[in-house]
Symmetry: C2
Subunit: 163 residues, 2 copies
Amino acid sequence: MMLFNKTPILFLFGVLAFSCNQQNRSAQTLETESQEPVLFAKGEKIANDNFTGTAYLHSMIEADSLNPNSVGNVTFEPGARSKWHLHPAGQILLATGGVGYYQEKDQPKIILRKGDVIKCAPNIPHWHGASAGSTFVQVAITGRQNGPTQWLEAVTDEEYHAK
Amino acid sequence: MMLFNKTPILFLFGVLAFSCNQQNRSAQTLETESQEPVLFAKGEKIANDNFTGTAYLHSMIEADSLNPNSVGNVTFEPGARSKWHLHPAGQILLATGGVGYYQEKDQPKIILRKGDVIKCAPNIPHWHGASAGSTFVQVAITGRQNGPTQWLEAVTDEEYHAK
């Protein structure tokens, strides 16, 4: 009789425990996706030497004779950053995920998070990249009407880690 | 003795059931957030008559003498859409959430989902908006160097619902 009374309870207990475990894992997955949703494709690993560390570029819009803007999605792995550089027609950055840095010459380093927007004036040397502990994803809108990006020196570790 | 054996099991059963319920609700919340993450602010309800239905605009970048682009986040409620209009320097749209429509004059209506990108050439009449059953969120990058947007007639229900 005790066996009859307990068995269904233990069975239900086991089913419930399994079910809970499934839901818990589901919640964790969603939480991870919610923290870093993939909005635009990651694209290809950047192979040139204009970046320190690992970064990816997905080109979404190429400039042409009718619209001078190129639009690209850039993903920086933790610690990765561009070299110092400037854009002759300026640039707009839209931060879409992670935590990153942006710095203009002789200005303090700015922390960027999802939803932050930067407008960089033409010919201002600057760099951008991920923080040391997080990836960083941004959309870059770059005017090409005044010529190509000019690449300068690498961002030193001292510059990168400066407060 | 039976009471002693059963009570802890029933107590644990109750705790587990409550815990499961909490996790289930948490997963549902995350699922909703994951489907429609808020990337940029929704902004203010658009008060002019260039839109049918309810739409919101958050202006993120204003055009100036150094950079001719304005960048805004537009949120359309289900069924809401712009009038037909054209941009003298063209426009780039980045779909960031929901399901929407984009149509150029004499072209079929295109369905837009998160991650889709549109390049609209200068002076091409077009409209964009949400689908009937979903909100739609987009970033609009609009060149202002050739003059302001020219607004045309409203999108009829027949045009809106056309396959």
